[in-house]
Amino acid sequence: MNAYNFAYLDEQTKRMIRRAILKGVAVPGYQVPFASREMPMPYGWGTGGVQVTAACLVPEDRLKVIDQGADDTTNAVSIRKFFQKTAQVAVTEKTGEATIIQTRHRIPEQAMTEDQILVYQVPIPEPLRFLEPSEVETRKMHALEDYGLMHVKLYEDIARHGEIATAYAYPVKVEGRYVMDPSPIPKFDNPKLESSALQLFGAGREQRIYAVPPYTRVVSLDFEDHPFDPSKAPHPCALCGAEDSYLDEVITDDAGSRMFVCSDTDYCASRREDAA
């Protein structure tokens, strides 16, 4: 594997990605176009996150990769292996021990610290895309800070369903300026977007990078009479008893019996270790 450069990407590509990351940090929530490269894994499987992680990694890093909150899901395993091979970095499953965490669809339950970087894999970075398919038009809306379309959509949800019918990839406003897609995390995770860690978002196929610097204001869109509600299943975890964590529903037999367990496997395991 030494035929490849440190962290796979060539230096020129990393410079290009690094410049985009810095501009993303300078304009929180704004999607910076970047010349995403073809990676040796398919588009839609984390190529954006992988490129951002590759551009940020130093040899001393300790990397954690999660998918659906779990370290042992196959795509997380595959990406972790990729960086072990191409960057020879140490890896961990412990949230607290990681210096960089690449994630798909979750924010770890354990609060992130100043020394950590959280890298999100993003499928569709444009929060307005499902309301307006044209990139030319949505770019205009961001430029003019014209988010009327989004408010109309949320309002129609309330009129029809009595609540905002968006359960994940719930749009947020960053530092009072850009409406941003937080990637398809459950809305339960939205409050954790205000963090002491640096958060970077990579969308490979769509060629966008964006960022939320530490301590940046991130507000989930809502209305005064219908405030944002980061709800989750009303159960404790069947394994560790946690009442504050996001739960997966697992079907346990043919009769459809089910149980609820933490989606964050490290959080669940360390709680059980502590209890033991």
Binding site: E11, K14, R15, R19, L22, V25, E175, P214, Y215
Partner: protein, 188 residues
């Protein structure tokens, strides 16, 4: 390798660039925090930190402006040899290097467009001292408040008023590095 303009690059290209970028990233993400960056040895008058930034971020696709304080043959050759960055006038620059006085007036630099605010310049401002005291900072990247010894106040307040447009700054002094994104709210 005894020609001065060829020396002083990164000893280990990919690892040094990775470390330098990480410092640059943390500096821009946390205004008021000072990072140490001593991986490059550029010719005078360029600081180690500024030299490392240029090696990490510049290449043939990034036009660079050298302010009069830094427009010297040795440094020019060093930058050209190591990065191939074209040396340009301030208006066309993606990066600019110099002392604050030499870079001024800073309203010459690209601030991006409303559709593409990322198409804005990054200024690398060489300082005679750099410390976490002086101007008071608020905004993204800052828990409550931070302090940084800025060369002036008004220019950064003007810059903030144009947000999301504006230039972004690094301040360098020897092996010390700090960042100030356009969104930082600067108070005296």
């Amino acid at each position: 390798m005894t020609t001065p303009q060829l020396d002083g690059g990164f000893a280990n290209l990919s690892h040094d660039a990775a470390h330098a970028f990480r410092a640059a990233l943390q500096a821009m993400a946390r205004p008021g925090r000072i990072e140490m960056l001593a991986l490059a040895r550029p010719p005078a008058p360029c600081s180690q930190a500024a030299g490392a930034l240029i090696l990490t971020l510049c290449d043939s696709t990034t036009p660079l402006y050298l302010a009069p304080s830094h427009d010297q043959p040795g440094l020019r050759e060093w930058i050209t040899f190591h990065t191939s960055a074209p040396i340009v006038r301030p208006e066309a620059a993606m990066f600019a290097l110099g002392t604050w006085d030499a870079l001024s007036p800073v309203d010459r630099f690209a601030i991006g467009t409303s559709a593409y605010p990322d198409r804005a310049a990054t200024l690398i401002v060489e300082m005679t001292s750099l410390a976490t005291k002086g101007a008071s900072l608020r905004g993204p990247g800052i828990k409550d408040r931070a302090q940084l010894s800025l060369p002036e106040i008004a220019a950064f307040q003007d810059n903030r008023r144009r947000f999301p447009l504006g230039f972004d700054c690094y301040f360098t002094c020897g092996d010390r590095l700090a960042g100030l994104p356009r969104g930082a709210i600067v108070e005296g």
